[in-house]
C-alpha cells in the first residue's frame, strides 16, 4: 500500500441560503497516494469543485459550514492556522482552474505572476526567480520563454494561459496538483495537449494529481483511480480499469453511455440521463440517484453505503442491486436501450 498523502474523511460542506441549507457536499471520502492521479468526475453541481477547493480552504463564504477532516501528511488542514495554511497553498498543494482567460491577473505580466508564486514560498532574489520562471515556461511548452515572460496575459492565447497557470502551479514542486476542469474552457485540440502536459509534468515534478472533469473521457487517459460524484456524494470509486470495464453504479453507466462511441453502431441520438439532478436543499430520501434511476426498487428508499461489492480491491459503489443483476442490466443500459425499467 503506497503512502497516503491526502485523506478526505466524511467531508460535508453546506451553504446557508435564503431557501434553506444547500448540502453541496455530503459525506465525501477519498484518498490520494504519493504520485497518484485521481480523477473526480461528475456533472455540474455535483460538488466536485467545492470538495477540492475546501482542501485548500479557498471557500471563504461566511455562509459555508464545513464538517469532516482533510488530512494532509498527518495534519488536519481544516484546523491549520492561517499562516501554515498559506504555506500549504501554492507551496505543497497547488491548483489550476477552469478558465485560464480569467484566472491570471490582467494587469500584471505573466512572468511577474509566476515570480510572485516563487518568491512567496522560496524567498530569494527576483532575478533568480525570474530565471526559474523562464525555465518553467519552457517546460510547459511556451515558445521563446525569455521574451514571453514579459508578456501580459491578454497577449497569450487560452491554451498558453493555461500552460502559464500550470507553470505557476508547479513553480514550487508541489506534492499535489489540483486541476479543476483544466481543459473545459479550451478547444478540443488544445485540451489533449494540456492533458498530455499534465501527465508528463506530474512525473517530472513528482506531484500527485487530482483531476476534476465532467467528462469521463478526459480523465480516462491519465487517471489511476476515478471517483464518480453525484449530488454531493461519491457514488462509485475505483481503479480506472475497474470503473470502465466493470462499472457498478447506474449513474456511472449513464455517464459511460453518454460518451459518443465510434466502435458501436451509430445511434439516432446521443444517450442522455433522463431527469435533472436533485435539489440539494431537500435531497430525495434514500439513494440520491433513485428519482432518475431506471432500476430503482423498494430498497433504494434506504441510502446505500459506499462499499466494496464486486470483490475488486478499492472498488466501491453505492448501489443496492446485486452484482450479477447489475452486470446484466448494465450491458443493455450502456448501449442506450434504457427502455428496461
Amino acid at each position: 500500500m503506497p503512502e497516503q498523502l491526502l485523506e478526505v474523511r466524511n467531508l460535508k460542506i453546506s451553504f446557508r441560503t435564503e431557501d434553506g441549507v444547500v448540502r453541496a457536499v455530503d459525506g465525501v471520502s477519498f484518498t490520494l497516494a504519493r504520485g497518484e492521479v485521481l480523477g473526480i468526475v461528475g456533472e455540474s453541481g455535483s460538488g466536485k469543485s467545492v470538495t477540492v477547493m475546501s482542501v485548500l480552504r479557498l471557500i471563504n463564504d461566511p455562509n459555508a459550514i464545513f464538517e469532516g477532516e482533510v488530512i494532509y501528511k498527518g495534519r488536519d488542514v481544516m484546523s491549520l492556522p492561517e499562516k501554515q495554511m498559506r504555506e500549504v497553498r501554492g507551496g505543497e498543494i497547488a491548483m489550476i482552474f477552469q478558465d485560464p482567460m480569467t484566472s491570471l491577473n490582467p494587469v500584471y505580466r505573466v512572468g511577474d505572476q509566476i515570480i510572485e508564486a516563487i518568491v512567496t514560498h522560496r524567498g530569494g532574489s527576483k532575478a533568480a526567480a525570474r530565471k526559474h520562471a523562464v525555465e518553467l515556461l519552457a517546460q510547459v511548452g511556451i515558445p521563446q520563454p525569455e521574451r514571453r515572460v514579459d508578456d501580459f496575459p491578454h497577449e497569450f492565447s487560452g491554451g498558453m494561459r493555461q500552460r502559464a497557470m500550470i507553470a505557476m502551479a508547479l513553480a514550487n514542486n508541489p506534492e499535489i496538483l489540483i486541476a479543476d476542469e483544466p481543459t473545459t474552457a479550451l478547444d478540443v485540440t488544445i485540451q489533449a495537449q494540456i492533458l498530455e502536459l499534465i501527465d508528463r509534468l506530474k512525473d517530472d515534478f513528482g506531484s500527485a494529481v487530482i483531476l476534476i472533469s465532467h467528462d469521463l473521457g478526459v480523465v480516462a487517459g491519465i487517471a489511476d483511480r476515478i471517483a464518480v460524484m453525484y449530488a454531493g456524494r461519491v457514488v462509485e470509486s475505483g481503479a480506472t480499469r475497474e470503473l470502465f470495464y466493470d462499472p457498478q453504479h447506474p449513474y456511472t453507466w449513464g455517464l459511460l453511455g453518454s460518451i459518443p462511441r465510434l466502435d458501436r453502431p451509430k445511434q439516432e441520438r446521443l444517450h442522455s440521463i433522463k431527469g435533472m439532478p436533485p435539489s440539494l436543499i431537500r435531497p430525495p430520501a434514500g439513494c440520491v440517484f433513485r428519482p432518475r434511476c431506471p432500476h430503482a426498487h423498494e430498497r433504494c428508499l434506504e441510502e446505500p453505503t459506499l462499499a466494496a461489492r464486486t470483490g475488486a480491491p478499492g472498488h466501491l459503489d453505492r448501489c443496492w442491486l446485486d452484482v450479477p443483476a447489475k452486470r446484466a442490466l448494465r450491458d443493455r443500459s450502456i448501449r442506450g436501450d434504457t427502455a428496461v425499467a
Partner: protein
C-alpha cells in the same frame, strides 16, 4: 506617444473653439441680451447706448466680434473687463490660478488618501459593523452641501470655538501665497481643503468599496489566494489596482472640473481669490470678457485632465495600451 499628444492637442483646440463660440453666442446672440445696455450704466439714453456699442465694437458683425475678442484674449492679451476697464483679464486669471491650484491639489491629496483608506477598511471589515458605519458616514459626507459645510466650518473655527485651544490657530479667511509664507499658506488652506474633500471622500470611498467587492469574485483573486498570498497582499496587490479604473476616471473628471474653476462655492465661502471666485464675480456682473477667459481656462484643464486620465488608464490596465 507622439501621435497621442498630437491627437489630444487637436481635440483640445476643437473643444476650445466650440466652447468659446457657444459661450459667445449665448451672451451676444441670445435675443433680449444686450451687453451695451449693461455697459452704458444706469438709465442710459439711446445715444449713450449707441456710443457704447460703437466704442466696444458691438455694432460689428458677430464673427468679426468673436475674432476680435479672441485676438485680444489670446494674442495681444490686453482684453479688459467690461465692468472695470482697469481689470486686465489675462493677468487676473494668471494671478488667480495659484490659489485654485493650491486649494484643489491639497484637497485632492486628502480625498484620494482618505477615500482609498476608507474603501479598503470597509472591504476588510465587510462582515462587521464597521463597513455599514463607514458607508453611512460616507453618505453623510456626500449629502452635506459644500457651501453649508464651509459656512459651518467658518462659524466654528472663526467664531464660536475660535478662542479655544482647538481653533485659535485658524487665520482669518483669505489666502497667503506658498512662496510668501508656507506655514500661513498651509494654515489658510487646511479648513478649505477638508471642507472641499469631504464630499469626494464619501463618494470615492463608496465607489472604491463597490469596485473592490466586484473584483473580489474574480478568478484571479482566487488564483492569488491559491498561490499562498496573505489577505493583505491579495487585497493591495491584486484587488486594489484592478478596482482603480472607475476611481481614476472619476478623479480625472472631478479634478479637471475643480482646477478649471469648479471650486466656486468653496472659494467664495472662504474668500479665496481663485479662478472660481473670479468666475463667480464675472457671472454676477455678466462680465463677458472674464467669463470667456475663465471658460477657456476651465475647458483647457478639463481636457488636459482627461488626457492625463487616459495615460493613467494605460498604466493601470495593459489591455488598453495597444489601442
Amino acid at each position: 506617444m507622439a501621435v497621442f499628444v498630437v491627437r489630444r492637442t487637436l481635440s483640445l483646440v476643437i473643444v476650445l473653439f466650440a466652447i468659446t463660440v457657444l459661450t459667445f453666442l449665448i451672451f451676444f446672440a441670445t435675443p433680449g441680451v444686450d451687453p451695451s445696455r449693461q455697459l452704458a450704466g444706469r438709465n442710459p439714453t439711446p445715444q449713450t447706448i449707441a456710443a457704447v456699442r460703437h466704442q466696444f465694437g458691438l455694432d460689428r458683425p458677430l464673427p468679426v466680434r468673436y475674432a476680435l475678442m479672441m485676438k485680444r484674449l489670446l494674442i495681444s492679451r490686453d482684453l479688459v473687463s467690461y465692468g472695470n476697464t482697469a481689470l486686465k483679464v489675462v493677468p487676473a486669471i494668471w494671478e488667480a490660478t495659484p490659489v485654485t491650484f493650491s486649494l484643489v491639489f491639497g484637497a485632492a491629496v486628502i480625498w484620494v488618501v482618505f477615500s482609498i483608506l476608507i474603501g479598503l477598511l470597509a472591504v476588510v471589515f465587510k462582515e462587521t459593523i464597521l463597513d455599514p458605519l463607514l458607508m453611512v458616514l460616507a453618505l453623510i459626507g456626500i449629502s452635506m452641501p459644500v457651501f453649508w459645510l464651509g459656512e459651518v466650518a467658518n462659524l466654528v473655527t472663526e467664531d464660536r470655538l475660535h478662542d479655544t485651544f482647538l481653533f485659535h490657530w485658524v487665520p482669518p479667511n483669505g489666502y497667503t501665497a506658498l512662496t510668501a509664507n508656507p506655514l500661513q499658506w498651509f494654515l489658510h488652506l487646511i479648513i478649505p481643503w477638508l471642507t472641499l474633500s469631504v464630499l469626494y471622500i464619501g463618494f470615492y470611498a463608496r465607489v472604491l468599496r463597490a469596485n473592490l467587492l466586484d473584483v473580489a469574485n474574480e478568478d484571479y483573486v482566487r488564483t492569488a489566494r491559491a498561490k499562498g498570498l496573505s489577505e493583505r497582499q491579495v487585497l493591495l496587490r491584486h484587488m486594489l489596482r484592478n478596482s482603480m479604473i472607475t476611481f481614476v476616471s472619476l478623479f480625472g473628471l472631478d479634478f479637471g472640473v475643480l482646477v478649471g474653476g469648479g471650486a466656486i462655492l468653496t472659494e467664495v465661502v472662504f474668500g479665496l481669490p481663485g479662478v472660481g471666485k473670479l468666475t463667480y464675480d464675472s457671472l454676477v456682473s455678466l462680465d463677458l470678457p472674464v467669463i470667456m477667459a475663465t471658460v477657456i481656462y476651465g475647458a483647457f484643464f478639463i481636457t488636459i485632465a482627461n488626457a492625463v486620465v487616459d495615460v493613467l488608464y494605460a498604466r493601470l490596465d495593459p489591455r488598453i495600451r495597444a489601442a
